[in-house]
């Protein structure tokens, strides 16, 4: 038996290990840098006044209350539409569809949707919702654009959890003489709540981070409205406001304050997605 592997092999192994380690360290380091940099620059800029007032050119005040409200409105409006549409499509694919070709077409369409850049959504949203359906530039038009964007997400997560609803439950329910709809309502839908919730969390994350699709559909006004009034008027979400403050107005302090808020929300959403996943996995394993 030879005593050991050659120097050349040793060098190769060492090199690859170092490269792997460096890459992983770089990736992790990047995240650490981004989070701390944004927090350090942004958190000191957050003040009570910033969070609770609206901007005014007269007083030179900058406040992001309207942007916070707009973000909340747009999330609510988008979820109201996307949940039934996405979950319904998943139920159709999993419970009703018999035609394999049709299923393939629908799934391919969903994959295509998830690959389309948000700027294109923005453009089509503008043409269809704002102009064709005459909604003007409004939160509702923005929310509906986001509905199309997030449809594949909710569809996929719901579909995944539907697959885990045991066939035996369905058969049990059918065996009791329940009609198809009854089985779906009482057995299938309750079983895929986790998928729907996961889909919602992911969608909220995407909506929070979205800007390109909203620029031309929801616009960038900063007025305070109630929910229904707000849906009918133009308004910037936090992300769009960040863009406008940083790029158009050079107000980097406010931009970083918003960035810090978005960063905290992003981390919370990650955490929520993880906890929800864990909670439902545990419940299912019982």
């Amino acid at each position: 038996m030879q005593t050991g592997i050659s120097k050349k092999r040793r060098a190769y192994i060492l090199l690859m290990r170092i490269l792997m380690w460096l890459s992983a360290a770089l990736t992790a380091g990047l995240v650490l840098f981004l989070v701390t940099y944004v927090m350090a620059k942004g958190l000191p800029e957050i003040s009570w006044n910033l969070l609770t007032t609206k901007p005014s050119y007269l007083t030179g005040n900058i406040g992001i209350l309207p942007d916070i409200l707009n973000t909340v409105y747009i999330i609510i409006a988008a979820l109201i539409f996307v949940i039934p549409l996405g979950a319904g499509a998943a139920v159709y694919l999993n419970e009703y569809a018999r035609n394999k070709k049709l299923v393939a077409v629908i799934e391919y369409a969903a994959e295509t949707l998830s690959g389309i850049p948000s700027i294109i959504y923005g453009l089509v949203g503008m043409l269809f919702f704002c102009s064709f359906l005459d909604m003007q530039t409004s939160l509702l038009a923005g929310a509906l654009t986001l509905v199309i964007m997030n449809l594949p997400t909710v569809l996929r997560t719901t579909q995944e959890s539907l697959k885990t609803v045991a066939q035996s439950y369905r058969e049990g329910a059918f065996g009791l003489g329940a009609g198809k709809w009854r089985v779906i309502r009482t057995v299938v839908l309750p079983g895929c709540v986790d998928g729907i919730i996961t889909g919602c969390i992911l969608s909220v994350g995407r909506i929070l981070g979205e800007s390109a699709a909203l620029l031309f559909t929801a616009g960038f006004a900063h007025a305070v409205h109630g929910f229904f009034e707000g849906l009918g008027s133009a308004g910037a979400t936090l992300t769009v406001a960040l863009y406008v403050y940083a790029k158009e107005q050079g107000e980097f302090g406010v931009a970083f304050a918003i960035a810090a808020i978005l960063m905290v929300l992003t981390l919370l959403i990650q955490l929520a997605a993880m906890l929800v996943g864990r909670y439902f996995k545990k419940r299912r394993d019982l």
Partner: protein
């Protein structure tokens, strides 16, 4: 005939469960030694200890001594990769890499630093010839190995193991996933290979042990119950447990 592997007081634990108990066995060169016994008796574990493939499993603890060519394989200075080059292995399920036939065979030599097309061509042909599969697939060297039949895949895996010029070939139930005809070919091959190599084969099939092996070791519940010439063991076993097993009373 000299012993190429000597094992002394070998014990092995998976966590707190003892899988091998005080194994003592000498494996002679240029012969086929069969390891038999019911499922979970430790024969596969023992086989994998000989080329230290058990090192991969977390929580494994080993005591005792295994010497290959006089060298303690667990000694600190031993390079496990060099041990595995000398003590090759063929697995239960044929596991060719998802690459061409040629690249499968050339993988080992390339890993060990052999370059040059002529040299590699030579090794590929020799290994495939040794594994008695050259004539069948010499026109398909550039084709994906996963396209071969199960039996061909297993002989390819044997050729792949031979390509790094091992001294010992460990075979872990190499025919359990194959049809009778393919099994026959592998058995023939094993008998032919013992001229050049030492073979240790785990088998569930006692007829197979009788057909091809020179020595047989019978394992039960982690212990080596009996070890000796195959003919003798199957005609006049010394231990009652061996007799019960080979006559099919359990397992």
């Amino acid at each position: 005939m000299s012993d190429i592997i000597t094992v002394k007081d070998l014990c092995l634990w998976y966590g707190s469960a003892q899988a091998l108990k005080d194994i003592n066995i000498n494996i002679p060169e240029h012969a086929i030694t069969a390891l038999i016994g019911p499922s979970g008796c430790g024969k596969s574990t023992f086989l994998k200890t000989l080329n230290r493939m058990n090192d991969l499993i977390p929580g494994v603890k080993i005591t005792g001594e295994v010497r290959y060519a006089g060298q303690d394989i667990f000694a600190p200075g031993v390079d496990v990769n060099m041990l595995r080059k000398d003590v090759g292995m063929v697995f239960q399920k044929p596991n060719p890499f998802p690459m061409s036939v040629y690249d499968n065979i050339a993988y080992g030599p390339r890993t060990h630093g052999i370059k040059g097309k002529a040299k590699l061509d030579d090794i590929v042909e020799r290994s495939l010839r040794d594994a008695a599969i050259w004539d069948e697939i010499k026109d398909r060297l550039k084709k994906n190995a996963l396209g071969l039949s199960g039996g061909q895949q297993q002989r390819l895996c044997i050729a792949r193991a031979l390509a790094v010029e091992p001294q010992v070939l460990l075979m872990d139930e190499p025919t359990s996933a194959l049809d009778p005809i393919s099994t026959g070919k592998i058995e023939e091959l094993a008998s032919a290979l013992k001229e050049k190599y030492t073979i240790v084969i785990v088998t569930h099939n006692m007829q197979q042990a009788v057909r091809i092996s020179d020595y047989t070791a019978f394992f039960l519940l982690g212990e080596l119950v009996e070890y000796g010439g195959t003919e003798k063991m199957f005609s006049q076993p010394e231990e009652k447990q061996t007799e019960d097993y080979i006559t099919g009373r359990f397992g």
